[in-house]
């Protein structure tokens, strides 16, 4: 309770909580806020004639205007929020689980096992995410082709999609190379953090006492070591949700891979930042709402991370 009173005593944390709740609300209520086109569900909805390339200003059908080819900005942002929350939470929790387990097991085993496992962790630290994305994308393409599938480009911007009906193709459709490479290449900070904590905790008296009482290794690890070593990892999770979503949007924006609707909107609106005639605000709806939303998302999770870190880990700040 001491924690919660300290947490709620700062207005920044109230702001963070409200923002997280509103993003969650939009994500959950997306079907009500902006109903899908029944014929073509998905974050990209066409309102009007899809051959029309000039973005149209806000109207009743598209409250935030349209992109080229008459894709509704509002619809993409709302469903993009759903996508972002799902992606961010999924990747952040998966990396945290892998990293925490890896670091804790290595620290508990100690000795040569610990050294080898942490050497592997260090080796993973030299692997840039962009390289992992490129490699996995190639492996994925290969898997799609060798299993008799084909690739289509959805509106030319939001990454290739596998099309075919066989079970393995359907599975491949739902596997996103970016998600996997982010999970595979981001768990190392958690492992290092938990590892040092577990090694320190192992020497404390209550763990020695648990040993003396005959507790099994699993019990010591999961009941005694992990709960005491996990708090700094929570702070990292909060910050990572934001940064993973931003990374996803970045990769979609530069056209490498990833299916972030936000990144797609920004990439599509990019050429309209400077409208015909060189004025910057003529087509504001193509880039401004998406930009502000992505920035707000980053700020939200950073605020939450900072707030949690001050409460859970007061010595470091």
């Amino acid at each position: 309770m001491r924690y919660s009173r300290r947490f709620w005593s700062r207005w920044q944390n109230w702001l963070a909580a409200i923002l997280v709740l509103s993003f969650t609300f939009v994500a959950l209520a997306a079907p009500f806020l902006s109903p899908n086109d029944p014929k073509k569900p998905g974050p990209l909805k066409v309102v009007g004639r899809s051959t029309e390339t000039e973005p149209q200003p806000p109207s009743e059908n598209a409250p935030l205007g349209t992109l080229p080819h008459q894709l509704s900005v509002y619809h993409a942002l709302v469903w993009g929020t759903r996508d972002a929350m799902r992606f961010g939470l999924l990747v952040a929790f998966s990396t945290a689980c892998i990293g925490v387990l890896f670091g804790a097991v290595a620290g508990y085993a100690g000795g040569a096992v610990n050294r080898t496992m942490m050497r592997v962790t260090d080796a993973f630290l030299t692997f840039p995410i962009i390289a992992g994305v490129v490699l996995l994308q190639q492996l994925w393409l290969n898997a799609v082709y060798t299993n008799g599938g084909a690739i289509t480009n959805l509106y030319g911007g939001s990454g290739p999609k596998a099309v075919s009906d066989s079970a393995i193709q359907v599975l491949l459709q739902h596997v996103d190379p970016l998600t996997i490479s982010l999970i595979l290449l981001s768990w190392m900070p958690y492992a290092r953090l938990v590892n040092t904590l577990v090694i320190e905790l192992k020497k404390t008296e209550f763990i020695i006492a648990a040993h003396a009482l005959g507790a099994t290794p699993e019990r010591i690890l999961f009941r005694h070591l992990l709960p005491n070593a996990i708090t700094p990892a929570i702070v990292l999770v909060a910050r990572d949700v934001g940064s993973f979503v931003i990374l996803q949007a970045t990769f979609t924006f530069i056209g490498l891979t990833g299916n972030s609707p936000w990144g797609f909107v920004l990439a599509a609106g990019r050429d309209w930042v400077i409208g015909p005639g060189g004025t910057i605000m003529t087509y504001w709806w193509t880039f401004l709402p998406a930009t502000l939303l992505v920035i707000l998302f980053g700020i939200t999770w950073n605020l939450l991370g900072d707030g949690l870190s001050e409460v859970l880990d007061p010595h470091r700040d």
Binding site: T126, P128, I280, N302
Partner: protein, 356 residues
């Protein structure tokens, strides 16, 4: 052997070990593909007279030659051997052998990385130390706010904003590496290309106008890339100096009547370097990812150009694998350089190395 050389050697040997682990993991991933695909990693440039049957026979020969149907370790050994011999394969999408293609594009990437690192490391260290020394005062509050903004602002949006203001509206800076009219002069044989880095070459050739133009093109990418890493480094340095500030040696220095400036910069500063540099080294991989992303957004045709072209459509395993390896080598190199710098600047390590 002098201790410093021993240290250098020890650190240098760590690089192949890391590479060995990571390439084994990489090849384990490649093993998921059928042998015919793996053969593509070794195939040379096709020539126009080859028929389908020729290519099929060549593929089969390659599979035999590199033991592509044999157990993992054996295949891995052959792959490693061909890598060391410089056979990184031929990329069909860029119509070039992968290794020369990567090497030729390196100077642009190296220039961007070099200036960013030179920009954000000193700035991050100094601002972190100053902020942490007087915690919760004016400068600290400004710093924490700016660091917060810098870490939550997506870099690609920052880049977009810069482009629309400083390039389109104000014409101060520009994307790309150099202005069109100068790019012809630089490719002219009369212009001696020594390092490949435009800012160095132009100075060596005495062309200040091109030098200024190269800087004009570097400003936006360097700033975009630095700002996030500046904030993270500054935050870490700040928290280190906060714990360091109450240590006895600093209290003693102050009790002896040394000025604040001298206590900070002569005594406290060098002791924050080791943990700060370690944190930069740990984020070297994200720095390299950032370099490539910034290159793509600002249309600097560096190493990332290879994958931008290779990722457009059909599978191109040699380019992807080559790029992967190359970026890992880049990360290891950055880490190595940081290690050396740390040894030179950190008094605790330096004393050990130079005076024993």
């Amino acid at each position: 052997m002098p201790p410093f050389l021993q240290f250098l050697l020890r650190r240098f040997i760590a690089i192949p070990i890391s590479l060995l682990i990571i390439t084994m993991l990489l090849y384990a991933g490649v093993m998921l593909t059928p042998p015919e695909t793996r053969a593509a990693i070794y195939l040379p440039a096709p020539n126009a007279h080859q028929t389908e049957a020729d290519i099929a026979r060549l593929t089969e020969l390659t599979i035999k030659k590199y033991h592509l149907r044999d157990p993992y370790l054996l295949q891995y050994g052959y792959w490693l051997k061909s890598l060391l011999q410089g056979t990184w394969g031929y990329s069909p999408t860029i119509n070039e052998n992968v290794l020369p293609a990567l090497l030729r594009r390196t100077p642009a990437t190296a220039e961007l990385t070099l200036y960013s690192v030179l920009f954000f490391i000193p700035l991050g260290l100094v601002s972190g130390v100053l902020a942490g020394w007087r915690q919760r005062r004016g400068f600290d509050n400004t710093f924490r706010f700016m660091a917060f903004v810098a870490t939550s602002f997506p870099p690609f949006i920052l880049a977009l904003t810069f482009l629309s203001f400083f390039y389109v509206n104000l014409h101060w800076f520009a994307p790309g590496r150099i202005a069109q009219e100068f790019s012809f002069q630089i490719s002219d044989p009369a212009f001696r290309s020594i390092t490949g880095l435009y800012t160095f070459d132009t100075l060596l050739n005495g062309r200040f106008d091109i030098f200024v133009d190269a800087l004009r093109h570097l400003a936006m990418p360097v700033f975009t890339l630095s700002i996030y890493h500046w904030a993270t480094l500054g935050r870490i340095t700040r928290s280190i100096i906060i714990t360091e500030r109450h240590k006895e040696y600093l209290v003693a220095a102050q009790a002896r009547g040394l000025t604040d400036q001298r206590v900070i910069w002569r005594h406290a500063f060098f002791n924050t370097l080791a943990p700060s540099f370690t944190s930069v080294a740990l984020s070297a991989a994200s720095l390299v990812t950032g370099v490539f992303v910034v290159e793509i957004i600002y249309r600097i045709y560096g190493v990332s150009d290879v994958i931008v072209r290779a990722m457009q459509g059909s599978p191109d395993a040699p380019a992807a694998l080559g790029f992967c390896l190359y970026s890992i080598v880049m990360v290891l190199f950055v880490m190595f350089v940081l290690d050396i710098l740390q040894a030179i600047f950190d008094p605790r390590i330096r004393e050990d190395l130079f005076n024993s």
